[in-house]
Amino acid sequence: MFITLSDVFQFMGRFFKEAFMPPYEGRELLKQCYDIGYKSLALISLTGFITGIVFTKQSRPSLAEFGATSWLPSLVGIALLRTLAPLLTSLIAAGKVGSSIGAELGSMRVTEQIDAMEVSATNPFKFLVSTRVMACTITIPILTFYTALVGMLGALLNVAMSEGTSARLFFQASLESITFLDITASTIKAVLFGFTIGVVGCYQGYYSSKGTEGVGKAANSSVVIGMFLIFIEEVVSVQFFGLFRT
């Protein structure tokens, strides 16, 4: 299941070389972005909203001990933006998007559709891989901020029902505590996660072994490896961005 690191770096190198060289596959890129958003939107909305409610509800007792329930909006805002939203979004996308990229490219490999592109003088790497990796890298950050927003709405619902806080007050309090560094760090993380999902899914699919079994394996390992790498990246980036927070 584990692949040699040098192969992956070669794969990424090829991506950077080909993605930014004309002719560009703009239409395919847009289609992929739309597909990724469309595929994960429902699940992400639901998860984000419920997480917002549950996280707020669970955090209340601890804050209440110090009589600090008024801190709830900022606590939830920071938690969502810094960690929950990027992680939830990427894990869901690794499951939905990563597996479907792995399966799609895998079955195109197995049924020789990728070879067919080669022989019709199209560069399949550029058309299939570059567009999908870019689409993931662009779309996952957007979805991440969307998840954060939906999560805040969930939190607002909970806070409004328990403490009767108004929406204006709630957003004022939570946005005040969010810094520019938080936004930058989240964006960078989400870009990294998106890129990871794209590269892993495409790599597994593009080089999937022959046979129907190969397709299943490609889909499966896209998810497993993708999630694994996302967790590692999360841990590393928490350490890294911690250096900037004093």
Partner: protein
């Protein structure tokens, strides 16, 4: 049938010398020598698993040879850059054994795909008329908006051939165009292959197990035996032998 061999231009479009290819321990091709002349239809025969598909995949650079030289239209395939290879592939059509249609695209989009990607200046109208003309040529204009999964095996084969022809290649490589089809569809495909040769002046390699097809379309026949082309010539020459590796082919097709 009038021998078509006589008026063939003797210019070579493909020259293969001493080609070797192994997968692991299994030596598939062991010193293949083969020439394809301009405007001829060359039929390649051989038992299943002898490396016929491997051979034509090497010709278009999908696989790389272990040893030997493959020259296509004067270029040595494994020594040119990727960009040059793509340019060469514009001139070499490849129809896959399993058709390899893009199953997420309609028939129209399948045919458009190579065209819009390689001739970016074409207008929408020009693309549409090229697609329709080519579909008409293979007799499947009515399937234009269908998905590949809705087509029969024979229809898929013909769409695959149409998708290849739309770039007007100089060389056509057909991998088992009639395998698994009924006799009537086979005859249709045979006449399609002959029509392609006449209309587009292509030179072709046709891989097949079907001797009726071989006889109908082949100017010349080459038989792949134990990794080499031991027998080449006209249909009659190749089968004028008692070689037990060759005779069963003929007997099966014409005696039983």
């Amino acid at each position: 049938m009038v021998s078509k061999t006589t008026d063939i231009d003797r210019e070579k479009v493909i020259e293969i010398k001493g080609l070797h290819k192994s997968f692991g321990d299994y030596q598939v091709l062991r010193g293949v020598d083969l020439d394809l002349y301009k405007r001829e239809n060359l039929v390649v025969l051989g038992k299943s698993g002898t490396g016929k598909s491997v051979l034509i995949k090497i010709i278009v650079g999908l696989l790389t040879p272990d040893a030997g030289e493959v020259k296509v239209l004067g270029r040595i395939v494994d020594q040119i850059s990727y960009r040059e290879l793509l340019e060469l592939r514009l001139k070499v059509g490849f129809s896959f054994q399993n058709s390899a249609l893009y199953d997420s695209m309609t028939v129209r989009e399948n045919l458009e795909f190579p065209l819009v990607r390689n001739q970016r200046r074409l207008t929408r109208g020009e693309v549409n008329s090229a697609v329709e003309e080519m579909l008409d040529a293979v007799g499947l204009l009515q399937t234009i908006n269908q998905m590949p999964s809705e087509l029969s095996g024979g229809q898929r084969k013909r769409i695959g051939i149409a998708r290849t022809l739309i770039l007007r290649p100089e060389i056509m490589l057909y991998d088992e165009p009639t395998a698994g089809l009924d006799p009537i569809t086979c005859l249709e495909i045979n006449s399609l292959i002959n029509e392609v040769q006449e209309r587009f002046h292509t030179s072709s390699i046709i891989i097949t197990h079907d001797l009726t097809c071989a006889k109908a379309v082949g100017d010349r026949v080459a038989m792949l035996l134990d990794g080499r082309f031991e027998r080449q010539g006209t249909f009659e020459e190749v089968f004028a032998t008692d070689d037990q590796r060759v005779k069963p082919f003929y007997d099966y097709n014409f005696i039983q």
